[in-house]
Amino acid sequence: MAEVVLSGLGKVYVDGTRAVADLDLEIRDGEFLVLVGPSGCGKTTALRMIAGLESVSEGSIRIGPQVVNEVPSRDRDVAMVFQSYALYPHLNVYDNIAFGLTLRKLPKKEIDRRVREVAEVLELHEHLERKPRNLSGGQRQRVAMGRAIVRAPQAFLMDEPLSNLDAKLRVQMRAQIARIQRDLGVTTVYVTHDQTEAMTLGDRVAVMKRGVLQQVGPPQELYDRPVNLFVAGFIGSPGMNLVTARLDRDDDGHHWVTVGSDALLLPESVLLARPALAGYAGRDVVLGIRPEDMEDAALADAQEGSILHSVADLVEAMGSDVLVHFPVDAAPVVTDDTKALAEDDGTADLPKGSGVVLVGRFSPRTHIYEGQPVAAWVDTSRLHFFDPDTGLSVWTTSGELE
């Protein structure tokens, strides 16, 4: 086990395309780090550079005490789980798992012991004689895991290992991967485009966009304090509602943020937490509201100044909660970040209406139906604010997250 340190890591392909730029990341010994971002954000390239499958254009990679830029994959002592599993089709499960060990010329007895041990953990012991083509998707995935685990490497590298499984199995395997990683304590770098996987698995999550690292931190920090619009929109499901709003200061010194025809009163705590926000008074800001920070006003102890009025456009009952979509008469946010998010959603080329549709996650006890008026209470203490020009989160003028 070892730490993995990326310093100024960059990748430029022969044709001049830049996949990764100036990536600084320190993955601590035994840590589970998730690299997440939309497709084409450079996360897989970064992982493949750590694996040694892709050459390093700039910067360096250190695994443990050794800089491995020029070390071939086979000598890096890291194991990788591929999205396609990449099982050897001509070998049975036992030989697939044992392959790496036989190359290391371990004694047969030792190999046998370790393969059977791993097979036991992964519940593959009944299938050791089978060929990969006779296994189900979940079993293949476990063989791929077993092949990595059995080597007891310095680090695990996982490239979207669950994306070929159906939803239910994915949740199961996610838990199993988390358990195995915790038990073994092996440093793990895990690449995914699924923010749920990222949030649930990672000790820390690193969000990338177009080859550039946006933010790295524990999942809750990314959720609570995203540094910019991109991270804010990417983390969380459904995504954060983003809308252009106007910030005003009244004669009593209260700050109001106007969304369409409604105004929300900002509690003092928000202004204390975000000292720079006062400077935006009289200007437009980007307001971010997480769906889960809204509730049916009839069910909440709603005060005036914390309610948005509209008409329910779509109501999705999820069982545990109800997603209510409602339009507000405010300008949509169009920045580089929101474009990148729309591309990832596949909504980039959908026609845009004039207003913005907000999504609120309400309690299932709500009695809102489509086409009916809706009054949405907003937890104003949990509002997010971003600079409309830079897309950066508004905290302090010279603060830690500027």
Binding site: R74, M80, Y88, R104
Partner: protein, 295 residues
């Protein structure tokens, strides 16, 4: 609902041929195939019968007359053939030429194909293109220059010379075939082996070769058949002592084919070996042809 409608209206638009086939079913197709197979088998069968009749009856009547007089069959031709040292030696020469030519081509092309498919080095694309380009090089243009070269090297009229020529002209197609097959092996598989600690040689031996078995079997059959049946190259480069069976049989030809007994026996013998090779590898061969087309 829309989906159902589309499929209902879509059915009559299928091609005439496919409708005929589906109406007549598999049975007709199979009968057709059997007829084609029979058509191709008739000459082979005729050759076999001719090789089992003595010279007099072969000259007097056609092979099909055995259906009315089946008693005249004899193995004496084969006994004569074994006694004929020229034909026997030429048969062995064919083996000495065909086996090394096949083995060398398969081994060399597999190594080259792996390099071209999976090892990155400058000029890889150009080298691959060059190999493909050599495919269109006709064998005839090389006969005289190579004959001169072999003459000065003392290889002319030797089995080694014939083998070298076959290997040289077998390689472009062999490399082309195997490279394409190797390149079709998923990249992840090769990379997984690298991560598992395998060097290139180990990846080649333990991952790529086992997966490429069908392609290699196909290549083995192709190459063996070509060399075994070759007349032109042997005619140019082999002398009397190193002549393979194709050359030796041709030398037996006289006007009016009076020694049909010897010819048919030798021809049948020279045909049965590649047939055996084909049947031995047939299972892989079909896989290989299919694998090449779908992936």
């Amino acid at each position: 609902m829309t989906v159902v409608e589309v499929s209902v209206t879509g059915a009559p638009r299928r091609g005439v041929l496919s409708r005929v086939v589906s109406r007549l079913g598999n049975g007709v197709v199979q009968v057709g195939l059997a007829l084609v197979a029979l058509f191709w088998l008739v000459p082979v069968f005729g050759l076999l019968i001719a090789s089992l009749r003595d010279e007099a009856s072969n000259t007097a009547s056609g092979w099909w007359t055995i259906f009315t007089a089946p008693t005249s069959l004899t193995l004496s031709n084969y006994a004569d053939l074994v006694g004929n040292s020229t034909v026997l030696r030429s048969f062995l020469n064919t083996v000495y030429i065909a086996v090394p030519s096949t083995v060398l081509v398969v081994v060399i092309s597999a190594l080259a194909a792996y390099g071209l498919a999976w090892i990155e080095f400058p000029g890889r694309l150009w080298l691959t293109t060059l190999v493909v380009g050599l495919l269109v090089m006709p064998i005839q243009v090389a006969l005289i220059p190579v004959a001169k070269l072999f003459g000065s090297l003392g290889l002319f009229g030797t089995i080694t010379g014939v083998v070298l020529f076959h290997v040289a002209f077998g390689l472009p197609f062999a490399i082309f075939l195997l490279r394409n097959f190797f390149a079709g092996i998923p990249r992840d598989l090769v990379e997984a082996a690298r991560m598992d600690g395998a060097r290139e040689w180990v990846i080649f031996r333990r991952v790529v070769l086992p997966i490429a078995k069908p392609a290699i079997a196909s290549l083995t059959i192709f190459q063996f058949l070509w060399v075994w049946n070759d007349l032109l190259v042997a005619l140019v480069f082999a002398d009397q002592d190193s002549a393979p069976i194709t050359v030796a049989l041709r030398a037996q030809l006289r006007q009016f084919g009076t020694n049909i007994d010897l010819l048919s026996t030798g021809a049948f013998l020279s045909m049965i070996v590649p047939l055996a090779v084909f049947l031995a590898f047939q299972r892989y061969f079909v896989q290989g042809v299919l694998a090449g087309s779908t992936k």
